[in-house]
Every structure is written in structure tokens, then in C-alpha cells.
């Protein structure tokens, strides 16, 4: 026993600094979740005599007229992003894998990774310019083909779609990496054998490459379930405006407005808690699935 403890000691020590930091900056603040059950007046402070109101903040929240639409927007935007975020990178990864010239392959990869590295603060500024209905780049193109200009960022019909497309644009290139990793793991002799059998490119992709990626695809699909309430604060925050609240306001931006700007911290924390609980449930389910069907263990 003693020997064992001694042997484990360095492991404890290694992990200790991280534990301390998480304790300080993640667990200590978690005590503040109590705010969700208070009529929190900021001026009285976190430890002041706040009034306990049980679940009133939650009830207030669910009764807010726009809460249902906020929830719906969040689900719709997030789920669409998840679907495109799975499909596009799979296709592009397969296409990239078929490029034989390695310099070309690298250049293409460099280009499609680019958007991932730009922040939404920067991209927000860029897209507001590019998507402007009058003189924006995209609408100039639409007009050149004789179309009517579209208010991508101002029209409730288009705004969610714009969010979904721009997010896919930002992340598809980087998303290919996981699939490329899976493809490189495929045994090359399988392709050789197929070629001997006279299989063409399509057949090879269909019968070797895709099945080889199957596990990763299933896994990412399952794991993304945990994200159905994450519609992307940074993106929406930097692109939306009051006319499109109806279709673009998501839980996170909603919390931001009632919390940071209106100082209704009790309600804001309640929304956050609501979201955490739902996410925890979804993540648990998804990991159970991942374990069951892909024999995947996170840790």
C-alpha cells in the first residue's frame, strides 16, 4: 500500500496546479449559482441579504413572451449548424484526400483553415460589410445576375440561414482535420487490392474510404448532441440587431442582455442553470450512446 501511494504521489503533484486553478476559477464561482434562486439586487452584493424566491426566476423566465421563440431559435440554429458541420467536412475531406499533388493539397488546406482562426469580432465587422444589402460584395454579385438584393442580416427569413451558412463557412475547413486523420489511418493495402480488382475512384471512396471513417462519423454525430443548446454567442452577438431578434435571438444573447445590460442577474443565472442542466442530460445521453455503439470512452 505504502509503495503504491509513493508511486502515485508524483501523479497527484502533477495534476495539482491544474486542480488549484480549476478550484479557484471554476468551482469557487459555482457557489454563485444560488443567485438563480434569489431576487438578486446587484447593489446588495453576492453575500448581501438577498431575497430568496425559490423557482420564481425560472417561472418568470418561462412566462416571458419571447422565451419560447428564443428556445426555438437556439435549437433550430444549433441543430442546423451541427448537421452542416458534420456533412460538409466529410465531403471535403474525401475530396482533399483525392488530391495527389501535395503542394496543392497543402495550399488548399491552408486556405480553408483560415476562417477558423479569425474571431467573430473581426468576422462580424467583415460580414456586416460584405453582406450589406446595397453595396455589399454578395449583393453586388446577386444584382449582377439580375437578382433582388437580400437583407441577410436584417430579414427574419434570411438571418438564421445566414448564421448557419457563415458558421459552416468558418468551421468546415478545420472540421476536415478529424476526418483526414481517420482517412490516413485506413490501411493502404485495401486500396491496392481494390485497384487490382478494377474498382474505380468512386467505388474506392464508397467501399473503402467511407466505411473507414464510419466510426469517427458516428462518434462525432453522437458527441455533437451535447451542443444543441449552443448556437454560438460570439457569432450572433456580433451580427444581430433588434429587427432580427425574432429569428436570431438565442439563449446566450438573451442571457447577456437581461444579465449584463439590465442587471437582472437572478434571471440570467437561472437561464444559465437551465441550460447547464439540459446540456448535462444531453451530454450524458450522448456519451452513453458513444460508449454503447462506438465503444468510446472519454476518459
Amino acid at each position: 500500500m505504502k509503495h503504491r501511494r509513493k508511486r502515485e504521489l508524483p501523479l497527484h503533484l502533477m495534476i495539482l496546479p491544474s486542480m488549484i486553478l480549476l478550484l479557484c476559477f471554476s468551482y469557487l464561482p459555482m457557489g454563485g449559482i444560488i443567485i438563480a434562486f434569489q431576487k438578486f439586487i446587484p447593489a446588495k452584493g453576492l453575500f448581501g441579504k438577498q431575497k430568496w424566491i425559490g423557482f420564481d426566476n425560472f417561472i418568470y423566465l418561462f412566462q416571458l413572451p419571447n422565451f419560447v421563440s428564443v428556445l426555438w431559435n437556439t435549437l433550430f440554429i444549433a441543430i442546423m449548424k451541427i448537421i452542416l458541420g458534420l456533412l460538409i467536412p466529410i465531403v471535403v475531406a474525401i475530396l482533399i484526400n483525392e488530391v495527389k499533388n501535395s503542394a496543392l493539397k497543402r495550399s488548399i488546406q491552408t486556405a480553408i483553415y483560415l476562417p477558423h482562426f479569425l474571431s467573430w469580432v473581426v468576422l462580424g465587422g467583415i460580414f456586416i460589410d460584405i453582406l450589406a444589402p446595397g453595396d455589399g460584395l454578395i449583393n453586388q454579385i446577386i444584382k449582377a445576375f439580375g437578382g433582388q438584393p437580400i437583407f441577410f442580416l436584417g430579414d427574419n427569413k434570411w438571418f438564421p440561414l445566414t448564421l448557419i451558412v457563415t458558421e459552416s463557412w468558418k468551421s468546415f475547413g478545420y472540421g476536415t482535420i478529424v476526418y483526414l486523420a481517420a482517412i490516413t489511418g485506413i490501411d493502404l493495402s485495401l486500396y491496392e487490392a481494390a485497384q487490382v480488382d478494377g474498382a474505380n475512384r468512386w467505388n474506392q471512396i464508397w467501399h473503402i474510404t467511407l466505411p473507414g471513417m464510419r466510426m469517427v462519423i458516428v462518434l462525432l454525430m453522437v458527441l455533437s448532441l451535447g451542443n444543441v443548446l449552443n448556437a454560438g454567442f460570439d457569432q450572433v452577438f456580433n451580427l444581430y440587431s433588434p429587427p432580427v431578434y425574432a429569428s436570431g435571438d438565442i439563449i446566450d444573447t438573451f442571457v447577456y442582455r437581461i444579465g449584463m445590460l439590465e442587471a437582472q442577474f437572478g434571471v440570467a443565472t437561472a437561464v444559465g442553470l437551465f441550460k447547464s442542466v439540459i446540456s448535462l442530460t444531453l451530454i450524458s445521453v450522448s456519451y452513453w450512446f458513444a460508449y454503447k455503439f462506438a465503444d468510446y470512452q472519454l476518459f
Binding site: P17, I41, A43, G134, G154, S241, Q264
Partner: protein, 575 residues
């Protein structure tokens, strides 16, 4: 065994390092807290004794007292004023020196944020500061925050300090709009903070028109709304910019609708609709202007104009800066806004096209009744003093001195406000407190007019003299001073304001109290709903009759309750 000692040591160092950081920073905090409380402690006696002896509005503290503030640093300060005032910084400048030298008040800043008081950044930072209980000695807060602070007993009751220490000029300024300014900071009869007096007259709306387009199309300045609608129609159909292309709109409005420039309030007033403020109805009760039936008429008119192409179809997503680009490009000819509009954005039009001649006219009415000119209550910010601060009266003294140095008998306007030697940069912004006389701009105009009549400009002093200098610079060819001519020139927009006052058109906002409970909870979501609905109605996204549904919703979602509370407040002050 030996081999393992070193690596274990390594992680010990790592941990040690971390703990050390944590420790040292914590001691840093506690020591600074100790020292600051120590300082305030020593100040208590001296400060109080100085105050108790005689309530001198300009009395100097010996030894000096310390005072911490939080402030905003806007783009003007950062990119314009600081570069023009070499040697001065936010933390060390002529104003802070003055306060230290004349009053014995040493000011420092607990924190500052980039942007203005109205920007989200300040609101956020202030809210977290308040919630964390770590207040600077003086905070600039809005009415909601003031109410919260007052209710949780975190700030000083300023009633007596104000009564005793406010100078004559200060009291004059604070009473210039009737009791409203002080009333807005009063809870249960106690003044809980000193307002940052802001001039309601500044929110007066005018009708800015491209006079050169009118002349070109042989049109007269409008006398009625019908005239204006005809002008709008002419501006889009008759090619006023003469480039042979059908590429102009008529009227500038933005997605925020209620704006000091490119807004709709002046237009709505023409239909006797006064949205976005509390107005008195004929029966003597107060109501939210946006939900009164007249608003529907105004919205219908705007949606007709939108349909006709007289409004930029993209206004619903354009903020002021975006719409200003269209103004600059010479695509717009009608702008409802406040007196400063020629300073921005209209001047950008003139700079691209010197023939662009914007002139300010009085707003017009859709029927034979003169329109009321709404003046929204502008005082929104308050200097609140932290409960345990030893010298609450010091903030009143700062205000006294600020007003005195700029607009008092022996002012040094040319050193402390917009000194010529610093290229007219607004150095007054260096001061943490910045109240100004509410009628100063109109008075300056009237003085200049008087001097023009007498033909003797040398009688001008202080701000009017500086304005006159700008006018002369414009006449001498300095085109950057164009805006001054449009406001203060012989045909300046303040003529319209004098007309408003003579005709009794001015209509002040009636509700100036602290936000009612329902307002705190509901107002901003109601505002969002209102804005969204109005923009959609104007854009034809929903029919105008949706307005009635909006009113029902508005009432059901807290508006009715809010109106009730506002009227209770109104009854309580009328007594």
C-alpha cells in the same frame, strides 16, 4: 529513488510558483485596501471640520482629501483631445490640477472603460462593480442603478450636502427646467445623488433639408406635412442630384428610429404623435406616447413613404454610422434631428459636394394645429456617493467649480472648455463631473444675433466669442467650420427654436421619476418589442393594423401596469 527527487521538486516548484502568485496578489489587495482606508480615515476629521465650520461652496480642504471615480474614455477624448493636449493625460490634466489646487480634492480613477456612458461596456463594468460591492467613492449611475443603490442603502443621502454646498450658479442651473432635474434623483423626498444636469432643450427636433435640392426643383420650404411629402416624392423622382440616375432616397432614418440624427420623432410630431416618452393626455393622465392612436397615423405615413421608395429599403439594419454613409454620398435630402446634425453627419455631405446646402427648419404638421415639439427629459446620469465616504459634499464642490470656471462671472472658458490654443479640443472632458447650463447654446446664439444686429462682435465673451470665431473662420474659407454656420449663423437652426418657444410649441416630458418596479423589469423588453414592431410596420413586413395588436400586447406585457405606476408617481408630485 534519487532520480525521482528532482522531478518531484519540479512540480513542487510549479505549485510553489502558483501559490506564490496567489499569495502575493492577495497581499497586494489587502495592503492596498489597508492603505486606502487609512487615508480616508485620516481625512475624516479634517474634512468634516472644514465642512462644519462654514458651508463654503468653494472651500478648500486642508490637507487635501482623496476621491476615486470611475469614468469612460470616449473616442473623442482618446483620438482627438489627448493628441491635442500634449503633456496631459486622463490621470493628470488641467482639470484634476485645478480641483487639487483650488479645492484640495485629489481625484484618481478606480477604473475606466473605452466608449461613452451609453455604451454597453460601461453598463457592464458598472453592474459588476456594483454587484461586487467594491464601489469607488463617486459613481456615475443611471436612474435604475441609483434606485437600487438607494434601496440597499449603499449611498449617501445628498439632500443636506446639496442644500448647503451648491453655489448660486449651480442651483440656478439645476432649477432651470423646473423641479424635474432634482426630482428625478429624489426618493421619498430625499435627494440620493446629484444629477448630471443635461439640457432637455437639446433634444428638440428640427427638420433639416437640402435647400439646394429644393431650389433646383423650384420647391418652397415646407409649411405642412403635405408639402413635405410632396418634397419627398420630388426628391426621388425628379433626380435632384442631376446625375441622370434614379438613385436618391428622400428621408434618412435608422434602425434605432429614435435618434438625435436621422430619427423619426420630429416626423411623428407632425401627426401629433410623441413616441418614446411619457406625455400628458387631454384627461390629465400620463401615457406612453408610442401606444397612442396618433402613432398609427405616423407609422402609416412612414410605411407609405417606404413603399414609395422614399426611405432607404435597408434602413432596418443600418445604424447611424451606416446611414451617415448615404448622407455623405449625397443620396438623402430630408433629416429629422437635433441642432448638432450639421456637425455630423451632414457636413460629410458638404465636404464631398460643396453645393450641398442643409438648412434647419421648424417641423411641420399634418393638420392646421401647430405641432408640439417634444423635449425628452435628458438628465439620465447621477453622481452617487459611496456610503462610507467621508466628504460627500466634495462632489458638490466639484460641480460648483466646473460650472463656475466655464460659465461663471469670471470664467476661464478659453482654458477649461474648448481652448483655442488646443485647436478647440473639448478639454472639459478631462473633468470627471461635467454639468453644463441647460440653455447655454440658445443663449449663445441669441447673444451672437444681438451682436450681429449691433454690428459689434467685440461684446461677445466666453462660449459665444469662441463660436463667433468659428463662424468667422468659416467665412474666411475654413470649410471644416461649416456646421457652426448652419447652427449659429444668421439663418441658423436656433431661429427655429426661438420660434418654437414663442409659439408655445415646446412640450416637456412629464415623467422624470425613478423607474417604477415594472419599468425595471419590463421596460427594455417592451422597448425592444416596440422598435421591432415599428420597423416591421414601416417596412411593410406586417400591415399597419398590427399596431392595434401591438398596443394590446404592450399593455398585457406590463405596459398597463407601468402606466398605472407612472400615474401614481404623477399624482404624488402634483400634490
Amino acid at each position: 529513488m534519487e532520480k525521482r527527487i528532482i522531478p518531484t521538486g519540479l512540480s513542487a516548484i510549479l505549485i510553489g510558483g502558483l501559490l506564490l502568485t496567489a499569495c502575493s496578489s492577495q497581499t497586494g489587495v489587502s495592503s492596498s485596501t489597508v492603505s486606502s482606508t487609512g487615508e480616508t480615515g485620516s481625512v475624516v476629521e479634517t474634512g468634516n471640520s472644514a465642512g462644519a465650520e462654514d458651508a463654503d461652496p468653494f472651500g478648500k480642504y486642508e490637507p487635501s482629501v482623496k476621491m476615486t471615480f470611475a469614468r469612460t474614455v470616449d473616442n473623442d477624448l482618446n483620438d482627438n483631445i489627448l493628441p491635442k493636449t500634449p503633456g496631459e493625460t486622463i490621470d493628470k490634466n488641467r482639470w484634476l490640477d485645478l480641483y487639487s489646487k483650488d479645492l484640495g480634492i485629489d481625484i484618481s480613477y478606480a477604473w475606466s472603460v473605452r466608449g461613452g456612458l451609453n455604451d454597453d461596456a460601461y453598463t457592464q463594468k458598472l453592474n459588476v462593480t456594483i454587484a461586487s460591492g467594491d464601489l469607488p467613492d463617486v459613481l456615475i449611475v443611471n436612474r435604475t442603478q441609483l434606485k437600487q443603490l438607494a434601496e440597499s442603502d449603499m449611498i449617501v443621502d445628498m439632500t443636506d450636502y446639496y442644500d448647503q454646498y451648491a453655489s448660486k450658479l449651480t442651483k440656478e442651473v439645476y432649477n432651470s427646467e423646473g423641479p424635474g432635474i432634482l426630482e428625478s434623483a429624489t426618493f421619498d423626498g430625499r435627494l440620493m445623488a446629484v444629477p448630471y444636469a443635461d439640457a432637455s432643450v437639446e433634444s428638440t427636433q428640427y427638420l433639416w433639408l437640402r435647400k439646394d435640392w429644393l431650389d433646383k426643383l423650384n420647391l418652397e420650404p415646407p409649411k405642412t406635412m403635405q408639402d413635405l411629402r410632396k418634397i419627398a416624392s420630388a426628391f426621388i423622382t425628379l433626380d435632384p442630384d442631376g446625375n441622370g440616375k434614379n438613385d436618391t432616397y428622400a428621408m434618412a432614418i435608422t434602425k434605432n428610429l429614435y435618434n438625435g440624427a436621422m430619427g423619426v420623432e420630429g416626423f411623428f410630431a407632425g401627426y401629433h404623435s410623441y413616441p418614446n416618452m411619457w406625455v400628458k393626455k387631454d384627461d390629465g393622465t400620463l401615457a406612453w406616447g408610442s401606444v397612442l392612436p396618433e402613432t398609427k397615423d405616423a407609422l402609416r405615413a412612414l410605411s407609405e413613404m417606404y413603399q414609395a421608395g422614399e426611405i432607404d429599403p435597408e434602413f432596418g439594419i443600418k445604424d447611424g454610422a451606416k446611414m451617415a454613409e448615404l448622407v455623405a454620398a449625397g443620396k438623402l435630402g430630408i433629416d429629422f434631428g437635433e441642432q448638432w446634425n450639421p456637425m455630423y453627419p451632414l457636413i460629410s455631405n458638404y465636404q464631398n459636394d460643396p453645393t450641398a446646402d442643409w438648412v434647419g427648419y421648424p417641423i411641420v404638421s399634418a393638420d392646421d394645429k401647430l405641432p408640439k415639439v417634444p423635449q425628452k427629459f435628458r438628465t439620465q446620469w447621477y453622481y452617487a456617493v459611496r456610503k462610507d465616504y467621508a466628504n460627500p459634499e466634495a462632489v458638490v464642490k466639484l460641480i460648483n467649480l466646473h460650472l463656475e470656471k466655464n460659465w461663471g462671472e469670471n470664467n476661464e472658458f478659453d482654458h477649461y472648455y474648448m481652448p483655442a490654443e488646443n485647436e478647440g479640443a473639448g478639454v472639459w472632458k478631462f473633468s470627471p463631473v461635467t454639468p453644463a447650463p441647460t440653455n447655454k447654446n440658445l443663449e449663445a446664439f441669441n447673444e451672437i444675433q444681438k451682436a450681429r444686429k449691433l454690428g459689434d462682435m467685440s461684446i461677445l465673451k466666453g462660449e459665444p466669442a469662441i463660436i463667433q470665431k468659428n463662424l468667422e473662420a468659416f467665412y474666411a474659407g475654413d470649410t471644416t467650420q461649416w456646421g457652426w454656420e448652419k447652427i449659429y449663423g444668421p439663418d441658423g437652426v436656433f431661429n427655429a427654436l426661438n420660434g418654437y418657444i414663442e409659439n408655445g410649441q415646446v412640450m416637456r416630458e412629464e415623467f422624470v421619476g425613478a423607474p417604477t418596479p415594472t419599468m425595471v423589469d419590463k421596460q427594455s423588453s417592451l422597448r425592444t418589442m416596440e422598435l421591432e414592431m415599428f420597423v416591421r410596420i414601416i417596412m411593410g413586413d406586417v400591415p399597419v393594423d398590427e399596431f392595434d395588436k401591438f398596443v394590446d400586447n404592450w399593455n398585457a406585457l406590463g405596459g398597463a401596469q407601468m402606466t398605472k405606476e407612472v400615474n401614481e408617481w404623477y399624482q404624488s408630485v402634483k400634490k
